[in-house]
């Protein structure tokens, strides 16, 4: 009210009116920012940090050297990103071991491996060690995760802000990310178990931004790529005339991404397959006939990825995913057969 009175009295003096308006505006902004900081857990600002991180992945041309470490091995990865003719291009190269490269150009992802001819698939997928949700849309994580602002650390010689992406329930792993305090890009990400123990690390060890796309990117933008493999509509393939297997329990927020029936590896038999994902972790469910008819179960780990197989009644159920072993066990135990409308009653494959 005081401001209004003062405004009225200054009708004839436009300059100080502006100054007053500026003061009022900045006061308003200040109040609003105080209100934002009072948010529980500062989740709004944590989310804005993560959104900014997504932006840094999509904008500009850059080259990254990334190291991924888990219990098993130590994997250096080179990532090139550029925008050529308005089309983003990402090239991921695994530097150790047999050759493995991934090229994501526009809407196609092409995989190059030393032991098979390259193949392409359409669509946006996780490319390389950085979860797709970080780059595309962090909102998919909001159903199952909370964003918590942490403290400041020094990572890669720079001041970094820690953001903890914590699951709302302890049935999956958390991701802790360190973002550059000044520009917001990802410096380090850890996959963390519910007890706080880090299971996998991804760290960016060098990065270079440039005005124009690097030579590799420019070269790759011209390369002819194989046409995308047409993916079978998974609904049509599975459940025809057979018992359908269903995972009764998946952790909340996990959605069915795909389902089909295919051959496991080169020498093994057919399996019913389902893939679930919540934006960060993926979990696969396999159901096939047991190899030798003997009952048994086993749990095998590769870093943060666990595989549990249970063989019973001639059927082997296997679940693989980046989830704590307890969750994997629950999923395995919940897998059960369902007779579909079109199916003839019969035993599992």
């Amino acid at each position: 009210m005081q401001i209004v009175q003062r405004l009225n009295s200054l009708n004839n003096n436009p300059i100080s009116l502006q100054r007053l308006a500026a003061a009022a505006f900045s006061f308003l902004i200040l109040t609003l920012s105080f209100a934002t900081q009072a948010d529980q857990g500062n989740s709004a600002s944590a989310e804005s940090w993560l959104k900014r991180m997504g932006q840094t992945f999509k904008a500009a041309n850059y080259s990254l050297s990334v190291i991924r470490v888990n219990q098993q091995h130590f994997e250096p990865i080179a990532i090139e990103h550029g925008i050529v003719d308005g089309e983003p291009l990402v090239y991921v190269n695994y530097l150790n071991g047999p050759e493995r490269e991934i090229l994501h150009r526009g809407d196609t992802v092409t995989y190059f491996q030393h032991d098979e001819p390259p193949y392409s698939v359409a669509g946006q997928r996780a490319v390389g060690p950085i979860p797709r949700a970080f780059i595309n849309n962090i909102d998919v994580l909001k159903t199952s995760y909370r964003f918590v602002l942490g403290g400041r650390n020094r990572v890669m010689g720079r001041a970094a802000q820690l953001i903890r992406i914590e699951p709302k329930e302890a049935d999956r792993y958390a991701i802790w990310v360190w973002l550059d305090a000044e520009h917001g890009m990802l410096l380090r990400a850890d996959l963390v178990a519910p007890n706080g123990e880090p299971l996998e690390h991804v760290q960016i060890v060098s990065m270079a931004y440039s005005e124009s796309p690097s030579p590799i990117v420019q070269q790759l933008s011209q390369v002819t790529l194989p046409a995308p493999v047409p993916l079978m509509e998974s609904e049509q393939v599975s459940g025809q005339g057979r018992v359908r297997w269903v995972a009764g329990y998946v952790p909340s927020g996990f959605e069915l991404v795909g389902r089909d029936r295919h051959k496991l590896g080169a020498t093994n038999g057919l399996v019913d397959y389902q893939l679930y994902s919540d934006g960060i972790s993926s979990v696969s469910v396999y159901v096939g006939s047991a190899v030798d008819g003997q009952p048994g179960q086993s749990l095998v780990s590769k870093g943060a990825t666990h595989l549990m197989t249970v063989a019973k009644d001639g059927v082997e159920v296997a679940v693989v995913g980046q989830l704590p072993p307890e969750t994997i066990t629950r999923i395995v135990e919940s897998v059960h057969p369902v007779v579909t409308k079109n199916a003839q009653p019969g035993k599992a494959p």
Partner: protein, 207 residues
């Protein structure tokens, strides 16, 4: 002399008095005699007899003290501990303590619980990059356990089964990686399901 020794044997038989005991405590010859008497009677009775005199024990300990100390390297518990920064190696090291063969520990898998049989893995089979995980109902491959059935054929069978199991486990991991790439991503799959009116599934994803 013999008279003195006769008195020792009499003392052994509880037949003499305090004066004899004092004499015994003073005279080393008598002490030796006393020790020999008791050794003999123990041997006759069938008890274990230590035939080493105290002199021998003393000379052995003196000899040991004179030997130069040899700094023997500690036997390595297991050579298969992978050096990984951070705390991520903790789980593996606990299990490694029970490994006998260094080459085996890296490839040991938590064994499939076969009824009545546990196979002992001793060959360095191709490494699966897998790790046993604690806290599972399946028992770990125990290298101390002897197989129930000792025949060579069943051991070979068990080994073959283990190879098959490992190959299958590898196949699962690789297929998982592959499927994460080629399965249709969420937004596309959802679009497909929206178009597909006729569906018999009971577990539609939430839309």
């Amino acid at each position: 002399m013999t008279d003195k020794f006769e008195r020792v044997s009499a003392l052994v038989d509880n037949q003499l008095d305090d004066k004899m005991i004092d004499a015994l405590l003073d005279d080393p010859e008598l002490q030796d005699q006393w020790a020999r008497h008791h050794a003999v009677s123990d041997a006759v009775r069938g008890d274990d007899v230590s035939l080493l005199s105290t002199d021998f024990a003393a000379s052995v300990s003196a000899a040991i003290e004179q030997e130069p100390t040899v700094l023997a390297p500690k036997p390595a518990k297991t050579k298969s501990t992978v050096k990984v920064p951070g705390k991520v190696v903790r789980m593996f090291r606990q299990v490694g303590q029970y490994a006998i063969a260094a080459t085996v520990a890296a490839v040991a898998i938590v064994g499939v619980q076969q009824t009545g049989q546990e196979s002992v893995e001793e060959q360095p089979l191709p490494i699966l990059n897998t790790n046993p995980v604690v806290g599972v109902s399946a028992s770990p491959v125990s290298l101390n356990a002897t197989p129930v059935n000792n025949s060579a054929q069943s051991q070979a069978d068990a080994r073959q089964r283990l190879i098959e199991q490992r190959r299958r486990i590898n196949a699962y991991f690789q297929d998982h990686e592959l499927q994460m790439r080629i399965q249709q991503p969420q937004h596309t799959a959802r679009a497909v399901k929206q178009q597909d009116a006729d569906s018999s599934t009971t577990e539609q994803p939430q839309q």
